[in-house]
């Protein structure tokens, strides 16, 4: 699961003029023709840096994203939900594995990425810094956050970097189940008893502003953004993704008799655009920089997994190992 909301501090598009002009032309020509870039190809440094950062953040979002839903893994009501939630959280870990591997093809090792995550040097999707108070929160995430992730990932899967596309293809196929499961679990509650309806409405109230920030603030149109779009690193603007998302999911939420906690939300028939209350971007910045309700816990848990698992990895480590990055 991943949103645009975390690619915040933009790398400056410096040094582009130092790149080899002939190689750059060949590189850009390949992308313009719709060909994919593979790991051994020449690529501008900015492309490599930006992709590493983006794929790495995506991977972190998966592994951290396993935690808010994992909160309910031992309490899922009934076999059907219990099995599905286990499988879904497992998939998120699997996606992290795929994405770390894709980022590794660009030259950053998994060890470095995990260290940067735990030490707060690298971001992940900000929504996972919020808690899941009830079972219904986990259902809302499974449905509406995963839905956002799919909008994002479908766009990214048409990007230019081969290994990332291959990983996303697998991920999108698996997420189809997440979305259906999430929808199913919300539908059961929304059409169920009054206690259930209340639970799911309250969860939606808690999560709506997170959902609205999921794709990130409006992108500033900069030379940088234009370059990344030309290189098919960034495939759609944050606002385009948000609009597409609202088009797809607002009707599905409303048909369940749920209320979306934003009185200003409506589609402007003239412009075809959704209008809404601007989310609190100051809070967003504060939380993404570490000051959210669950930041410390999320990183603490990952750190625990690393530290308490260290003896296992040390025991199996091959002293003669030489690092070879994965091939594709």
């Amino acid at each position: 699961m991943y949103g645009g909301g975390n690619t915040f501090e933009a790398i400056k598009a410096e040094g582009l003029e130092e790149e080899d002009a002939r190689k750059m032309a060949e590189f850009e020509g390949r992308i313009a023709q719709g060909e994919k870039i593979e790991p051994d190809d020449w690529m501008p440094r900015l492309y490599r840096q930006q992709l590493i950062r983006m794929i790495e953040q995506h991977a972190h979002s998966e592994i951290i994203g396993a935690l808010p839903e994992g909160t309910w893994i031992t309490r899922a009501p009934g076999f059907r939900r219990k099995l599905a939630l286990m499988a879904k959280v497992q998939d998120e870990v699997g996606h992290a594995q795929l994405l770390y591997s894709a980022a590794e093809t660009l030259g950053k090792s998994r060890e470095e990425m995990l260290t940067d995550l735990i030490n707060g040097k690298s971001k992940y999707s900000n929504v996972f810094n919020y808690p899941t108070y009830t079972w219904a929160d986990s259902c809302i995430i499974s449905w509406l956050i995963d839905a956002g992730a799919i909008v994002n990932q479908m766009a990214n899967s048409k990007g230019s970097y081969g290994p990332y596309c291959r990983a996303l293809e697998r991920i999108c196929a698996e997420e189809a189940f997440h979305l259906k499961y999430g929808h199913d679990s919300v539908v059961y509650m929304a059409t169920g008893s009054s206690i259930q309806r209340q639970m799911v409405q309250e969860a939606l109230n808690r999560w709506w502003s997170q959902i609205m920030t999921f794709f990130g603030p409006s992108d500033k149109l900069s030379v940088h953004t234009e370059t990344l779009m030309r290189w098919k690193v960034k495939m759609a603007s944050n606002d385009e993704c948000r609009q597409q998302y609202l088009d797809m999911y607002v009707p599905k939420i409303l048909e369940l008799g749920l209320t979306i906690p934003d009185p200003l939300l409506k589609k402007n028939e003239d412009t075809g655009q959704w209008e809404y209350t601007e989310p609190d971007w100051d809070e967003f910045r504060r939380v993404i920089n570490g000051d959210g309700p669950c930041n410390a816990e999320r990183l603490g848990v990952r750190r625990m997994a690393e530290e308490r698992g260290a003896w296992v990895r040390l025991a199996l480590k091959n002293p003669t190992a030489k690092y070879v990055r994965p091939l594709a």
Binding site: I63, A66, L67, G70, W72, I73, T74, R75, A76, P77, G78, F79, R81, K82, L83, M86, A87, V89, Q90, E92, V93, G94, A96, Q97, Y100, W135, S185, Y188, M189, G192, S193, I195, Q196, M199, V301, M304, A305, R308, G309, A310, W311, V312, R313, L314, A315, L316
Partner: protein
């Protein structure tokens, strides 16, 4: 008599699989290596899936629906061995339990696939492939870690020593033991235990781990008939926390 014996057998298998599957599922997202996290979660899902299959057979024999059986009984009504309900501890502890349990599970299911009670034989046959992986996984890990660093070996050895009495509790005799054996429904716990000892001994012999002295162990019995450690009831409360918010609702 025979039907009661079959139910008794089904309950202990289903409850074992559910409780250990539940415990193992706690590792999801918290494992020591990403890939192992995934593998461990798959096996936990398998176990819970197996319990569902056996609760379904019980339901066909007139017991309650699987969800009710799993989510609404209290600890004294559970037939799992105490071995399966112990908290996870660290990875060495969970791994040793996985190794001891899944080797027994494999033998149990092999025998059950020849059960004279057709529905059990069918389910057991269907699950063979999954259990094969579980045993391969467990034995590969023990072989690898069991002859690695001093720390790993001593962790595994300590876990093995403290878990062995509980593991032997898996083979607590049923009150219908003789009926089950005589009617060809089940090979019986003694037969399974003997084979189990041979198999785990074989794996341990290829490592630097030492098999605890079996005759001097006191098996932790009682789980099959409702005597449990203090850990089971809290586990069940947690498992049913959401469903109990509105037990009549569909979730």
């Amino acid at each position: 008599m025979k039907e009661e014996a079959i139910k008794d057998l089904l309950y202990k298998i289903a409850d074992d699989q559910l409780i250990l599957g539940h415990r193992n599922s706690e590792w999801t997202g918290l494992g020591p290596i990403l890939e192992e996290d995934i593998a461990f979660s798959s096996m936990a899902q398998d176990k819970i899936g197996h319990s569902l299959a056996f609760y379904t057979l019980l339901h066909e024999l007139g017991e309650a629906e699987p969800d009710l059986l799993a989510f609404s009984r209290s600890a004294t009504q559970f037939h799992n061995s105490q071995f399966t309900e112990l908290p996870n501890g660290e990875f060495d502890y969970s791994l040793i339990r996985h190794f001891l349990y899944d080797n027994a599970e494999a033998i149990r299911f092999e025998k059950l696939s020849h059960s004279g009670y057709e529905p059990i034989a069918k389910v057991a046959t269907k699950l063979k492939g999954e259990i094969k992986y579980h045993v391969l996984h467990a034995n590969t890990w023990i072989r690898n870690l069991g002859s690695s660093t001093e720390e790993a070996i001593s962790r595994l050895q300590n876990s093995l020593n403290s878990l062995m009495p509980y593991a032997l509790g898996m083979f607590e005799l049923s009150v219908y033991e003789q009926v089950l054996i005589d009617t060809g429904i089940y090979a019986g716990e003694e037969a399974i235990k003997e084979e189990w000892l041979t198999r785990i001994q074989q794996v341990l012999a290829s490592t630097e781990l030492t098999m605890p002295d079996i005759p001097s162990q006191t098996p932790m019995l009682g789980g099959r008939y409702g005597t449990h450690t203090k850990h089971l009831q809290p586990l069940l409360n947690e498992m049913a926390e959401v469903i109990k918010i509105d037990p009549t609702a569909e979730w």
